[in-house]
Amino acid sequence: MVNPALSGALADATERALAEAAIRLPADVLATLRRAAAAESDEIARSELATILKNIALAEERQVPICQDTGVPVVYLTLPPDVPLTPAIYDGIREGVRRATARIPLRPNVVDPITRKNTGNNTGVGMPAIHVTAGDRLTVTVLPKGAGSENTSRIGMLLPSQVAEIPRFVAETMLIAGGRPCPPVFLGVGIGGTFDMAAALAKEALLLPVDTMDEYEQEICDAVNALGIGPMGLGGDTTALAVKVKRADCHTASLPVAVNVQCWACRRATVEVER
């Protein structure tokens, strides 16, 4: 049974979340960027970071997206006990993406993987990606993901004996990436689970607050920053702004590790659905 009211409310919430994410960075992301800009010692890097902060202010002032790569929509939905998961939920989110694309506007980025034909509205087969979890409230969280950084992400099926080599794997990911993912980056690291779970955890890690790190995350972050890649690969102290780790238990013979690279524009927003 399709519930048109719920579908409409979800479309509204999705559109609002996508507008918020495209135009304004979350407070924790902005604070982390400002802290890095104040601490940077390299002259070109300081100038790059100043340009980034100026761009963020300008996007808000002009109410336009921060970056022209407005990404593909990745959606995390929490469903309270009284809302069943029905096709109307998916329809509502897809409608919200179509509306946001036309109104904000967002760049239509979604294409057929083989023919490369653009769907024109950022929806398509499997797009938007919608992840559902049980929760207390009905909320839509969006994480628009640009391709520059997504393309340098990496997964490794490490050996159980290689636990100590996880920081090296993460640093190596940035060594290979260089300036391509628009550093300074945020790195979501998924450790454990299965092949697919590690990747999902890495992306979910980007939803965690980035203005604090535990000791392990800081150790990895320091290893990445020692590379000196710097903002845009032009050199400097600031290559990674933060590393966030999410874990799951795994098979005794496995150690999946995934690194989801996110450019400095770690765009995300959560909107509660009005119903």
């Binding site: 100038s47 980034i52 239509p108 640093a171 060594l175 260089g178 300036g179 890649i229």
Partner: protein, 180 residues
């Protein structure tokens, strides 16, 4: 700060990697699909002294909403014919491969625009035309008039590549830290 105006000429040969410059005048956006189309059908604008901008903007009607740089390395193997035709500068982010560094020698430069800074870039740009619009918003060639676009010389006309120098240092640091 050095101010450049299109069409560009031999003044680009005086630039050094690391120089901060501004660019005013006409730039043409081009990404993967536009390069492939130009190789097949020819360059639809006058390439002499021209500037290519690796960018897929957000356009609404005739309004350039935002227009930051895309990853230039994707065009590594597709760029030589443009420089041969007289293009003097490439604008993008992340740098390009050793092949392009050689193609630019004594001819042109690669200018780095801060990645993600699409609102700032668009604030200094105006839309003037379009070629290959059938390729879609991201892949079409948009003709843009730029006003003092702030850039850093990433690769100069003498084979100096700022990105490669940083990459080399990063490799050394990596090997040292992890004892490889």
């Amino acid at each position: 700060m050095i101010d450049l105006t299109t069409p560009l000429g031999d003044e680009v040969l005086d630039l050094r990697a690391g120089d901060r410059v501004t660019l005013s005048g006409t730039v043409c956006t081009a990404r993967d699909e536009a390069h492939l189309r130009m190789i097949e059908e020819g360059i639809p604008f006058d390439p002499e002294g021209a500037v290519i901008y690796h960018c897929g903007p957000v356009v609404q009607g005739d309004r350039l909403v935002v227009a930051g740089p895309t990853t230039s390395a994707r065009m590594n193997a597709l760029t030589g014919f443009l420089i041969d035709a007289g293009v003097r500068a490439l604008i993008g982010k992340g740098g390009m491969g050793p092949g392009v560094v050689e193609q630019l020698r004594e001819r042109g430069v690669y200018l780095a625009l801060t990645g993600g800074c699409a609102a700032l870039a668009a604030a200094r740009m105006e839309l003037h035309g379009v070629y290959f619009e059938d390729l879609g918003m991201a892949e079409a060639i948009w003709v843009i008039e730029a006003d003092h676009l702030p850039l850093t010389v990433g690769i100069d006309a003498h084979g100096v590549d700022l990105f490669e120098a940083v990459r080399k240092k990063a490799k050394t640091q990596f090997y040292q830290r992890f004892n490889i």
